[in-house]
Amino acid sequence: MSYLVGSGLTRFGRHPGRGTLDLMSDAADLALADAGLARGDIDGLLCGYATTQPHLMLATVFAEHYGLHPSYAHAMQLGGATGFGLVMLAHALVGSGLARRVLVVGGENRLTGQSRDSSVQVLAQVGHPVYEVPLGATIPAYYGLLASRYLHDFGSTEADLAELAVLMRKHAVQHEGAQFRSPISVADVLASRSIASPLKLLDCCAIADGGCAVIVSAEPVGAHALRVAAATQHHNAQHVSALASLTDCGAGTCTARALAAAGRSLADVEAAAIYDSFTITLTMLLEEIGLAPRGRAGVLAREGHFSASGAMPLNLHGGLMSYGHCGVAGAMAHLAEMHLQMTGRAGARQASRAGVALLHGDGGVMSSHVSLVLESA
């Protein structure tokens, strides 16, 4: 049993002059304040990685910098699944008694801390170093391959994919911390320049600077506690060339196990936070998980199903595509938003119901999956 008792999310976008440790510190300050805790209350520290600060020991580097003396510290690397993977580990540490209050923190100056080419090249290394990267393949190309197969098999169109980008932007308009806040239309997405067909610029998340932190505790301390009901992982082949299936990445199996472990079913879920590095990522995950029938995610998005007032509120902060993506903290932003939603503090974005939430992240190219079920405490 564990509780998520605080969260902190910085504005995403440009933070010139602010490094990884600065952004992690900003987020940690916000999360501690939200939980009503101080540095000395923290006995576990979990963090991810930063492409702009590729240190062997980021967790202890941060502990020293921030002034923590944890009895457990650990940096994890699961790509886009890292944030939820950290929360799963925090839940396990608290459950085992190894730690009582774990700070989970991510942050990176991915936008202003390096050139765009450097970022594209670093991220492309999730591809196979011998059999894929030398071909000039990029992350959008790997996802473009998946998108081509998806559109071929399920009869969806590029306009259907675009609906998810439009939805994320619509949500981001309501959040002053989001990187992109000007509304866009399906026509705008379709007219944006091609990156790796069928994906266009507005089908892709952009790179941001930012930070996010949460605190996982053995007790429901403070005024904003949620229960972490279950957490599961599923791992496929790392490389897209080696995936057993191009259209079933195991996300549904992963979420089904999480829901079963929580004693819940998909019908109990009132709000969702799903990884959305590209429109195809979000579309495939929603449909594999069963939050949309095959080929219908775009239609449901257009009909308002995933809006704050809809049947399944989704990524109400704007997701990676519009709130922004700064690496580990990018996916953690989904969690921070869900924390606000589930504790009734999301203001103009507030969903009418968010008592049971399903969160799912993926890392690599649909390679690594982590699902979380959260419940109101």
């Binding site: 080419d117 492309a124 000039g136 393949a137 190309a141 473009g144 391959l145 081509s148 197969r149 060339s241």
Partner: protein
């Protein structure tokens, strides 16, 4: 022989890996397990399905079908920027494994293709051309 191969006694010597495109050669090699018959692409000194050592290697004939296809318009570096746009495909080879390669413009999923090793951006890479639609 490359250093990695000479240091690994489990590596298969029945093929000359220096002719594989990944080592600058003009062939596309794959491996298969004599014990469990598993077939795979990424070179290893053992079968990833059953663990059997000393897998066999074979030269791929190069016939297959397109499973996924993307035209890249944003390159990772200057070498590939000069080639834009280029096509990346995933192809199921008839021998029973999947490979990524460059593809001819206009390829679509389901196309039958044949592979040749071409010099692209200064390196030999698998290139798939249309064989039949």
């Amino acid at each position: 022989m490359n250093d990695a191969a000479t240091q690994d006694p489990a590596m298969d010597w029945t093929r000359d890996w220096t002719r594989d495109w990944t080592q600058g050669g003009d062939q596309l090699l794959y491996q298969h397990c004599l014990a469990c018959r598993h077939v795979w692409y990424f070179k290893r000194g053992f079968c990833p399905a059953c663990g059997q050592a000393e897998p066999a290697a074979a030269v791929c004939i190069g016939a297959g079908s397109v499973q996924a296809c993307t035209q890249v318009e944003r390159a990772p570096n200057d070498e590939f920027r000069a080639l834009l746009p280029y096509v990346i495909v995933l192809v199921d080879l008839d021998e029973g494994f999947r490979a990524m390669g460059h593809g001819a413009p206009g390829l679509v999923i389901g196309d039958r293709v044949r592979c040749e090793i071409r010099t692209i951006a200064g390196k030999p890479l698998p290139y798939f051309e249309l064989a039949a639609r």
